[in-house]
Every structure is written in C-alpha cells, then in structure tokens.
C-alpha cells in the first residue's frame, strides 16, 4: 500500500493526496474529506519517515539530559513536551549520564537522523561543538548556563545565587557547623553552588571548614553515604545543605536511621524543589529551581528559531530565571510568615 494506491482509488492525483497530508489548508473540504475517507477504507497510514524527507522535516526534536533518573530533568522534559505536543512534535529523549562521549555520540545520531531541533541541558559541549551542530542546520537551545558559552539561545538559572541564599539562611538561623553534600565536583553547576556557599560564609565573616564538604554521586544512595560520613565525625554538623533534593532525601534516611531528629538534631536544606520535597516528612526547605519553566521556555525558543523560515536575523536570547529559597520545616526556622509568602 502506498500513496499511489490511495490516489488511484480516490480518483485524484498523488499531489492532491500529498497536499491533504502535508498542507490540508490548501485542499477543499470536500476533497479532503473524500481522500481521508478512502484512506480509512484502505487502512492507509503514511510513511512518516518518507513524509519527513518530502517536507524536509522529521517532526522530531531532541532533548539531551545528563541524568534521566533525576526528577529535575524529568520536569524539564515535561516542560519541553508540553510545548512540543501543542506543535505536533515528538521528542527524542537522550540520557548522557554525565558522559561527554555519550553526548557526542547522540549528537552524531541526531545529525544523521536529521532532527528538526535540539535542546541540550547541562551540556559539556563548547562553542566550536555547538557551531558544528548549527552548521548542520539544526536549531539549538541550551538549558543551564555554561560560562564559556556566549551568544547562544539559552535558558538558565543562577546556581550560585541559589546556594548563597540557602547557606545564608542556615547561617542566620545560627547553626555553628554547616556541612554540604555536593554532587560530582567536576560538574560546573556544583562548582557554582560551592562558590555560593563560600560567598555566604565570607559575607557572614565565618570560615567554611572544608572537612564538611562531602562529594558523592547525585543519587539518593549518594546522599545516604554522604550523610553517613558526616554523622560519623566526632563533631557532627548541626546543619546539612545538599546540592540536590534527591541527595537530601538520602541524607534524611540516614539521619532518621540514626534516630536523630530533623531539624532539632540536624537541620537539612536541599536544592531543586522537586515535587517530593513538599511531601516528605519533615517537609524539605530547598532552593526552588524553575525547571519546568526552563523546559517550557527552551522549547518555545527552539520553535521560534525553527519557525523563522525566512532566515530573519534573530538575536540569541539569554533568559535568566530566578531561583528562590522555599522555606519549609527541615531547616528549623520558626518563621511561619516566610513559609506562606516566600
């Protein structure tokens, strides 16, 4: 069964069938209805890949994330999907597991499959790699700031400012010893968060004891191990700031397993504000990252570039979204008003 069979049966030209499929607005309602009826009768479904070649588009955009198990990225993916669905686009979701080579492999695959657009989140790639992608005619939007990249369409939030706010909050609550559980150190986002922590300490005129920095995988298990290490110190920290909510959930388990209370014995603050952070007990104080919104805006920017058929000059947009401290119970504050408003 192919398009010619349908055309013959419907008594119209192949070009008309093609118009019904690809540009239905250019066909009269009566013809359209007749053709669709014949297609249904013959149980004909178009070959989408071939259709993509004809239209010079595949109806697919790709989203690359570093860790599909981290709810931050599922929320970004949801934002991208919300927009893509409205446009009848499908998403190719690729998980790099923080592996630069895996990311490069995926990108080669995208080029050979001629995807229509690409969103890279927390990417390892640099200027020349990105230019390489664009030179293949693939529109590109980035999520998450990479300081070395200039002049690209990008949606980002300020990790340093977020970590600064969280640390400042713990310092203001008067904790004498504050520890941080960070993800893999080589990741630029974690470096930025660490800068924020150090800045808050410096501003408060306090020295930040480096022994309280624990590095681990950005997973619940990582958080458990990190907290285990901190709780084994002779001088246990009074408060722990984890660089992600999933690390905080892990830390929560370990703290509870040791029969310690949160926040009375150990206060805890996370980062991300994923859905579960308002469900766990005690509810997690965390830095709210507008991740779903980042996905939405990145996808809208991407479609703007894709829609710009006449190649009009578009100034790359750098859209900064605010992160915000979301105060709940785990940090040990006594300020109900901030819970309501901030």
């Amino acid at each position: 069964m192919n398009i010619r069979t349908v055309a013959k049966k419907a008594g119209v030209s192949v070009a008309t069938i093609s118009r019904v499929l690809n540009h239905p607005d250019s066909v009269s309602d009566a013809t359209k209805e007749h053709v669709l009826c014949v297609m249904k009768e013959l149980s004909y479904t178009p070959n989408w890949f071939a259709r993509g070649l004809n239209l010079n588009k595949t109806g697919v955009i790709a989203l690359v994330v570093p860790d599909i198990l981290n709810p931050v990225y599922t929320q970004i993916a949801k934002g991208v999907e919300d927009v893509a669905r409205q446009r009848n686009y499908n998403i190719l979701l690729c998980n790099t597991e923080d592996d630069e080579y895996k990311e490069r492999d995926y990108i080669e695959m995208f080029i050979s499959r001629r995807i229509d657009g690409l969103i890279l989140s927390s990417s390892f790639l640099k200027g020349e790699d990105l230019n390489g992608i664009k030179s293949q005619g693939i529109p590109l939007v980035l999520i998450g700031r990479n300081k070395e990249i200039q002049g690209e369409n990008i949606v980002y939030t300020d990790f340093k400012a977020g970590a600064y706010e969280a640390t400042k909050h713990l310092l203001e609550l008067g904790y004498a010893s504050i520890a941080v559980i960070i993800g893999p150190k080589l990741h630029p986002e974690n470096e930025e968060k660490l800068e924020g922590v150090e800045l808050a300490f410096a501003e408060a005129g306090r020295s930040f004891d480096k022994k309280y920095i624990v590095e681990c995988n950005n997973t619940i298990e990582g958080g458990m191990l990190g907290a285990r290490k901190l709780l084994s110190f002779d001088q246990k920290p009074q408060a722990i700031f984890t660089f992600s909510d999933i690390l905080a959930f892990g830390a929560m388990e370990t703290i509870k397993a040791d029969n310690l209370r949160i926040p009375e014995d150990v206060a805890l603050v996370g980062f991300d504000n994923i859905r579960m952070s308002s469900i766990v007990e005690p509810k997690l104080t965390t830095v709210s990252q507008p991740v779903h919104k980042m996905g939405l805006i990145a996808a809208r920017l991407l479609f703007d570039i894709m829609d710009n058929k006449d190649g009009e000059d578009m100034i790359p947009q750098q859209i900064y979204l605010e992160s915000k401290l979301k105060i709940r119970k785990s940090c040990g504050h006594m300020d109900r008003l901030s819970e309501i408003f901030d």
Binding site: G79, Q86, K293, Q318, I319, E322, I340, F341
Partner: protein, 374 residues
C-alpha cells in the same frame, strides 16, 4: 464633547479601561468587554508557566463593596494567548496584555511574545500582593528599573507598569519606572488583605492573604495617582474602587489620563461600563466640558502643603431644618461637644465649635455647612 483620550500614544475612544482580573481571563470575555464599550481591556496576568489558579473558594465580599480575591494568574498557557488575543480583537478594540515574570529577561520574553500575538500594549503586573513574596516585586527601586528598561527595550508597543500602594515611597518607585523608559504607570493594584474571620469556626473567610479591591480602596488609589502624577511626567491610569462616573472624574482631576475598572464590572456585569460612560458624557455636556484632557489634573492645583493651607475662622452652621427627630449622629460625633439637639432643633455653640467639618459629612441630610465667623 469628546470622550476620547490619547493614552501613551494609543487613541482610546473613552478613558474607561477594564482592568486585569478573572473577568478578562480569555478572548471571549475581553471581546464582550470591548463590545460593551470599554476604551481598552487588560488581560488577566499572563505568565510563562501556569500556576494553580482556581483555589476554592477564592472570592469573598463585604457590605462596604470590598472584595478579597486569592485567584492568582491566567489559567491559559502563554502560547495559547495568540488565539485568545485574536478572538478578543476580532471585533476591533484595544487589548493590553498584563504580564508577569520574575527577572528582566523573563519579563521581556513574555512581553515580546504577546507583542507578536497582537497585544497593543503591555502592562507589567509586578504589584500583586498575593502569590509572591511578602515584599511585592514592585517595591524594589532597582529591580523595577531593570525590569522596565529591559521590557521597554524589547518591544515596540507601549509599556505600562502597574504599581502597588503596599510600598513605602511610591513616588521614588514611579521615578524609577520613568527612568526605565516606561510609557505609563497604572495604580493601584489590590491591597494585601484578610477580609475577615468567621468567629464561629475561628477561620479566616479565605485560606490565605489576598488582594483587596472595590470602593473601600478608592481613597488610597486616588492618593497614589495624585502622587505619581506629581512625581513624574508619565501618563497615569487610575485604578481602585471606581463605581460611578464621579469616581472616574475624581481620578482624572487628580491627574489620571485614563482609568481602569475591575471589581465594579465583576459585581455588576460588563453593561455597567455603558452606565458609567453615559453618565460621564451627560455630566460633561451639562457642564460644558469639551474634552477629558481639559479637566485632567484640575484638582491637583488645590492640593497644598500644610503651610500653604490658609486657616480661616470657619464655624459650623445649620442651614437646613433637621427632619430626623431621633438621629443623633451630629451630636455624638462632635469632638468639641459643640452640637446640641432637641428633637428637630439643632444648635451649634459658636464658642465651642472649631470648624473641623466632621458634622458636614456625618449628617445624612447634609444640613451643616462651614461659614466665616462673624
């Protein structure tokens, strides 16, 4: 006699704009407001990401015409506003998009999309007293400047900034808006409120802090508009508790170029716009006022500093016969015990009266007036 006004470069057929709110939540409703005669309509606040909006219950009112609202923002996705604006403008009219983002680049991004979708102007909805932090976004002079500047640079259509009275120095903030390149200022947004508590259950009427609107906030809106009009050269759009054509005139005489109505439309329907406009034009005709512009700011000239107010030897005087035997409002509210009443006989003791003027507004029949002491 001409009701039309030029507001931030847009010709409006009359100065009555429908304010952002649940009553402008989609294209159809905006279209209805336009068809009912509104000079322009402002959309409900549009964000780049939807937030839960329809908390139940979310609206409550009191007997003084005040309304507390805890509905947050538009429940329609940013991109879907393309169709909504097309519907809104399908019979003509001016549509202003009220937008909210939390950083300059986010705000500029939303505004430029709405410009692309056909909005005639942008209103920055940065003054809502609920849904954000304890300090409204519009209370930081630097932030308000940066946001205004970025948005004004990013769109070609006029940008109006909606301001809040929940700030310490509205004049300073208005100057930041002017410096940022805005085309106009609208004021005021609703005021943070708790309308009341159900004393039987011990719970507030609505489950969180909300925005207070309606007649009770009008005096606050009038003062804010006068302040902004005196602090900047920007056109001002007066908002807050407008219920009648007289209220429209009050705002205009205090320096507004146009006004926005919200709560009155919510409580009385869109047809109410027509009542206000008809009354406004008959008043203008009766008083031989040719244009709105000719009375704009008229009352500002009579706003004085304390040292400029001349203290005249005025005293209260009863000039109409009291017809209410049992009414004692004048007597009980006289701070100087100067008013005495026996059935319908009302007497002001000139030795005690200091001319404070309270009895004039307390008397339901307006039987008092102030006269020069002889």
């Amino acid at each position: 006699m001409d009701l039309s006004v030029d507001f931030m470069g847009i010709k409006l057929k009359n100065p009555v704009i429908i304010a952002a709110g649940p009553w402008t939540r989609n294209g159809e409703m905006i279209k209805k407001a336009i068809q009912a005669g509104a000079g322009a309509v402002v959309t409900e606040t549009i964000l780049s990401e939807l937030r839960p909006t329809n908390i139940r219950p979310r609206l409550t009112s009191n007997s003084s015409g005040g309304v507390q609202n805890i509905r947050l923002y538009s429940e329609i996705e940013l991109d879907e506003w393309e169709d909504e604006i097309a519907i809104a403008k399908s019979s003509g009219g001016v549509v202003i998009a009220n937008v909210l983002g939390h950083t300059p680049s986010e705000m500029a991004y939303i505004a430029s999309r709405l410009e692309k979708f056909g909005a005639d102007a942008i209103e920055l909805g940065i003054a809502s007293p609920h849904g954000g932090g304890i300090e409204v976004l519009a209370s930081d002079s630097q932030k308000i400047y940066e946001i205004t500047q970025k948005v004004s640079d990013s769109v070609k259509i006029p940008v109006m900034v909606k301001m809040s009275q929940g700030v310490t120095n509205i004049a300073k903030l208005a100057r930041s808006v002017e410096k940022g390149g805005a085309s106009a200022i609208s004021a005021i947004n609703t005021i943070r409120s708790i309308l009341g508590v159900d004393i039987n259950t011990g719970k507030p009427f609505l489950p969180t802090y909300g925005g207070y609107s309606g007649a009770p906030i009008r005096p606050i809106g009038l003062a804010a508009v006068a302040t902004i009009a005196q602090a900047t050269r920007l056109p001002v759009c007066g908002i807050g508790g407008i219920e009648t054509f007289e209220n429209v005139l009050e705002y205009i005489m205090l320096g507004a170029s146009a006004v926005q109505i919200g709560t009155a439309v919510m409580l009385n329907g869109y047809e109410y716009i027509n009542t206000i406009l008809t009354d406004l034009s008959s008043w203008m005709e009766k008083n031989n006022i040719q244009s709105i512009d000719s009375i704009k700011g008229k009352a500002l000239h009579s706003l004085k500093s304390f040292e400029e107010i001349e203290i005249e030897p005025l005293e209260s005087n009863v000039y109409k016969k009291c017809l209410r035997e049992s009414c004692k409002d004048c007597v009980s509210s006289c701070l100087y015990s100067a008013i005495h009443k026996n059935l319908q006989e009302v007497y002001v003791d000139p030795e005690k009266c200091t001319g404070c003027g309270l009895c004039i507004s307390r008397c339901p029949d307006r039987n008092f007036r102030l006269i020069l002491k002889v």
